[in-house]
């Protein structure tokens, strides 16, 4: 009976020599650490990127509709701006052309006017030259006519004494030259 008690106590003592839960099994620690790192690498390389990708795809799909509409709107607005710009450009072009035409017309008119003025001046000069020539001719013919008439008149008055043509024409010439000189000196003084 006593022996039996002792053996039971021994068994109990052996069992109550309990493990300390704070003391780690280094192999378990190592396996857990390595397992964690392996899982972490798998998550970094494979799992997390896939979930992020999937999330991104969904965000894009949802926002895609909105974006598309916005893009279409922006495109329409760009087209409208382009169209308005073209319209304004063509308006400016038209007014420029009009302006140019006006300027050209004015130039044409002024050129025509100038030409006309030049033409009229030329005609006037010609006429004047013509008149001058006519006057000179008239003066020349008058000079001989007047000389003859005056000689005839003088010979009629004085008689036959002055029949000698050469002398009389010399006298008439001298007289006319004197007359011319007198006129010129008068013109110079005036």
């Amino acid at each position: 009976m006593g022996e039996h008690m002792i053996s039971t106590t021994l068994i109990r003592a052996a069992e109550y020599e309990d493990a300390n839960p704070l003391i780690p099994n280094p192999w378990e620690a190592a396996v857990a650490g390595i397992g964690f790192i392996v899982l972490f690498i798998i998550v970094v390389k494979v799992i997390a990127p896939r979930f992020e990708q999937s999330y991104q795809n969904r965000v894009e799909a949802i926002e895609g509709g909105i974006n598309q509409a916005e893009e279409a709107k922006a495109e329409a607005e760009a087209l409208k701006a382009e169209y308005e710009k073209q319209l304004a450009d063509s308006r400016a072009e038209a007014s420029k052309i009009r302006e140019e035409a006006r300027a050209e017309g004015a130039q044409l008119i002024s050129e025509a006017q100038e030409k006309a003025a030049a033409e009229s001046a030329r005609i006037r000069e010609q006429a004047q030259a013509q008149i001058e020539a006519d006057r000179a001719a008239a003066a020349a013919s008058l000079k001989s006519e007047v000389g003859t008439l005056a000689t005839q008149l003088a010979s009629k008055i004085v008689g036959e004494a002055l029949e000698d043509d050469a002398r009389s024409s010399r006298v008439v010439d001298r007289f006319l030259a004197d007359l011319d000189a007198e006129q010129q000196t008068q013109g110079a003084t005036q």
Binding site: I11, A19, N25, A30, A32, F36, V43, R50, S54, A61
Partner: protein
């Protein structure tokens, strides 16, 4: 239908004639390779659980996201919700919009690694919460400890040590007391509590399960009388709410562990902010 862990208990109880509660040693099952070798000498169940967790997490999430469908299937939706929970609740809300992106994989791994390993304690047949052993808990807390300290020194240089140990706005004489305390609290006690909180809760849950099981077994199978058998059944029924409480604890501890990881990392990123 006695488990191997309970056979020695039954033997001693039969000789003693009284109930003997389960011990810590009984949470240390003999190793698998070599078969039935003493705990700590070979490849054990705990290590098998770690490998199972890695394989399960990889397979489940890769399988769920394999199609990357825009309109997700039920499985993909669940996996995305789980991922989104870690990403947004622990990542974005704690680390902030600016910094959280690169830390999502770490937080995801920490949370699901701890969660799966904890839940193994609630699955009949596996019934081994990996972190009820101190080794894995130390390993994981150690990895996170190294991570946030390395991050702090990388971001702030040697100034990080001052930021973590010298609280600002404190009168100089008080610093003589506060600086060693801050050092102890941040660099020594923090990783210990981080690991022991998880280990203690998982161990306690594991022991409760063992206690309920061995107690019911003792009352029903080894005691005479209908009253004792009835009491044994009552113990089993009573252990059902405990089982669910334990489930909550397992999820909560995984959440707390990952949340603390996020908070430590945030503390390193913004060590100079306060």
């Amino acid at each position: 239908m006695r488990g191997p862990a309970l056979s020695s208990l039954a033997l001693s109880a039969a000789e003693e004639g009284g109930f003997q509660p389960p011990t810590i040693s009984e949470t240390h099952l003999p190793d698998i390779l070599p078969w039935m070798a003493p705990w700590g000498t070979g490849f054990g169940k705990n290590m098998l659980m770690v490998i199972l967790a890695v394989v399960l997490i990889t397979w489940l999430f890769s399988f769920a996201i394999r199609k990357q469908a825009l309109v997700p299937s039920r499985g993909q939706y669940l996996a995305e919700s789980a991922y989104g929970f870690v990403r947004n609740t622990m990542g974005r809300d704690i680390l902030g919009d600016k910094h959280f992106k690169p830390w999502i994989p770490l937080l995801f791994t920490v949370f699901f690694f701890v969660l799966f390993n904890n839940l193994f304690g609630a699955i009949p047949g596996l019934q081994m919460p990996t972190f009820s052993h101190a080794g894995p808990a130390y390993a994981l807390a150690g990895i996170i400890w190294v991570t946030w300290i390395a991050l702090g020194f990388k971001l702030h240089g040697a100034k990080f040590m001052k930021l973590m140990t010298v609280p600002s706005g404190v009168p100089k004489p008080l610093l003589l007391i506060l600086t060693p305390l801050e050092f102890l609290s941040n660099f020594i006690i923090r990783p210990l509590t981080h690991s022991l909180r998880l280990m203690a809760v998982m161990l306690a849950g594991h022991i409760i399960v063992m206690l309920a099981g061995s107690g019911a077994e003792f009352l029903i199978a080894q005691q005479e009388g209908i009253a004792n058998a009835g009491l044994g059944v009552a113990v089993l029924i009573g252990s059902i709410p405990l089982y669910f409480l334990e489930l909550i604890m397992m999820v909560l501890q995984a959440f707390v562990f990952a949340l603390l990881t996020a908070i430590y990392i945030q503390g390193s990123i913004e060590a100079d902010a306060h």
